[in-house]
Symmetry: C2
Subunit: 382 residues, 2 copies
């Protein structure tokens, strides 16, 4: 294991065998209070997709969502190496050129942050305060992961792989390199790969340069950026990002269940023009073509409905960009003067449908509540 | 004039001859209250520079700050035209290829949002709630503007030029295309140009594709994105972004003074590693090389000082990247265990120095208060 545990703040607990509870997580519990300066600082650092850019099937560079837990590390691609070690028969080490020389795949992937929608929960969990735009779609190019792991060979007692990035910091009183784990079964089922290009160009620093893990269909925390090592381990990984963060739970004492695949969601391009401050939309009356995109990590998006003031009608679906990417949808709306509430909700092939009210959990994970857009329709100007 | 005025919200004033006062600006007055959902939505849309990226002299694509008042417009570069009209002797029209065929300059420019630092003011003006990171530096390529204006020829009664973008929305109850004006004197003094490339690549959509105005040394609101027209006008432009927003004033009834050149500022790369939620820094004791960048639109940066717990010492300055770009600085710090407050402040060639406390104004413009970074230094681990 390459991770280290250190207690750096007086008063925070030393690492113990019992799970770290929410009170030790550094941010305090969910609150009914106002937004805090710490949340604002996180909102300034991390980037969301401006909703109008949902019109683009592939998110333009620089507009894809970004959540960076610690700092963006400075990595020299020439000296960078990826090690594959632990409970394996042969330790391996790859340079960037080694990975580029292997068989390559390019996969369109919709990535979403598991905390997307968090700021809409009441009480509000204290972390990155996403509204609804922590998403993006890119074509990622890399080499499949499973063949590399087969080349290394697993010991019989290995249970999963730990993926560790070069970004390091403190969360909930623990100091760690950012790290997450996956079983070989999940790696194979999701078609995980080691990505070194995004939309045909080398990864930008903020997306994991030179190499990141890419796990299509799962929330973004799994696709570890700035990948430095892969380690086969003989007991389930208990790093902070695996065992404490990114779990669905209602109560701090629960272990909860792991966050993994992306829940079904749709978003619309807000129609018309915005008010700068409120982002309320102003639309001219008449026929308006509403459009958006929908995705799910659990299955195919089967339908999208548009709700206007509580009345739902089906949208037309476009083909998906790929098995793990969003699909476009559109629907016509006869916009009549007055104030209206637009909502959209998607249903996937498992029958899962977006809820109309947020489903609360302690850490604000997987809130796929149906989007709400407030619109003022104005009469034709004469 | 291509701008239109429309009152779209009941209760907001029709356009009148008297200046629009702050109460009509749509966001309400400054507040001592908590952060609002509207501010959070703006913070989610707009992007700041993660402070660790100050280590890069040229900001990597996708990490440069972004403030987008309305929506990012979708523009077809093939059919895009820039018109030069109004009080000119010859109306002109340029395609993107026309501009690319003209003499080209590439200029490294540090751009900063005039509202940078706004969220630190008390009471807090209600708008995009920047902390301190609304900055970035890129190499911008384009063609000088003044020769184009000379080719058009000015009528004797023309007083300035209005630059209008393709982004449209409502601010303070007024509906307008985003527009700003400049005099010919300012255009020539600042070396303004029409930029079609950023760091050697076509402009990304969010930075004004296909062409934006670039006014080195002035705050970013002047460098109009998605430029669609240039119009010579015979009386000073009174558009919202010129006459109401982007003015220094203390009282809603004042006209105030225009915001234009960038005030001197320095920022440091926060040392050590962060706590995810609080962004507090953890540093190992010993000698730490602190580094950052400093810039001013009023003159050359002449000195940078680092303050540790209130004691100031000079930093070493690197050459500036260019006459309108930041310069790097660094200083060694003997970090002793305990909690410390780091600050940096720059002085420019006009003698202007960053204040240690914010200087308040009604719209939160030009707050160049010295940055403050809280650090916990820990003893060597054994």
């Amino acid at each position: 294991m390459t991770t280290q545990w250190t207690t750096v703040f007086p008063g925070l607990p030393e690492r113990q065998d019992e799970p770290v509870t929410h009170a030790a997580r550094g941010s305090g519990g969910p609150t009914d209070g106002p937004l805090t300066d710490a949340e604002l600082q996180l909102a300034a650092r991390n980037h969301a997709l401006p909703l109008e850019i949902l019109r683009e099937e592939v998110t333009p560079p620089g507009l894809h969502y970004l959540l960076i837990h610690f700092d963006i590390p400075a990595i020299d691609a020439g000296s960078w190496r990826l090690s594959v070690a632990g409970a394996v028969q042969r330790e391996l080490s790859f340079s960037l050129e080694d990975l580029r020389a292997r068989p390559a795949v390019t996969v369109p992937v919709t990535l979403e942050c598991a905390g997307n929608g968090r700021s809409l929960l009441r009480p509000r969990p204290l972390s990155q305060p996403w509204v609804l735009e922590a998403v993006g779609t890119a074509g990622w190019t890399g080499t499949p992961l499973a063949p590399i792991l087969r080349e290394a060979g697993l010991h019989d007692d290995a249970v999963e792989f730990v993926f560790t990035g070069a970004d390091r910091g403190i969360q909930g009183g623990r100091e760690e390199d950012y790290a997450r784990s996956l079983t070989l079964e999940d790696i194979e089922r999701q078609g995980a790969f080691l990505a070194y290009a995004m939309n045909g160009a080398p990864l930008p620093p903020q997306h994991g340069f030179p190499v990141r893990l890419m796990v299509p269909g799962w929330y973004g925390m799994t696709s570890v950026k700035w990948l430095s090592s892969i380690e086969a381990v003989t007991r389930p990984f208990d790093g902070y990002q695996q065992a404490v963060a990114y779990r669905y739970l209602q109560d701090p004492q629960e272990q909860g269940t792991p966050v993994n695949r992306i829940r079904v969601r749709s978003l619309m391009v807000p129609p018309g023009i915005p008010d700068f401050f409120t982002r309320r939309r102003i639309v001219d009356s008449g026929t308006v073509r509403l459009q958006g995109r929908a995705w799910s990590g659990h299955g195919t998006v089967e339908s999208v409905e548009m709700g206007v003031d509580g009345t739902w009608s089906p949208a037309e679906l476009e083909p998906a960009l790929g098995g793990h990417a969003w699909r476009g949808w559109s629907v016509s709306w006869d916009a009549e003067p007055g104030d209206h509430e637009l909502r959209c909700r998607a249903t996937d092939s498992t029958g899962a449908v977006q809820p109309l009210e947020p489903e609360w959990n302690l850490q604000g994970m997987g809130n796929n509540v149906a989007q709400r857009v407030e619109v003022t329709v104005r009469a034709p100007r004469v």
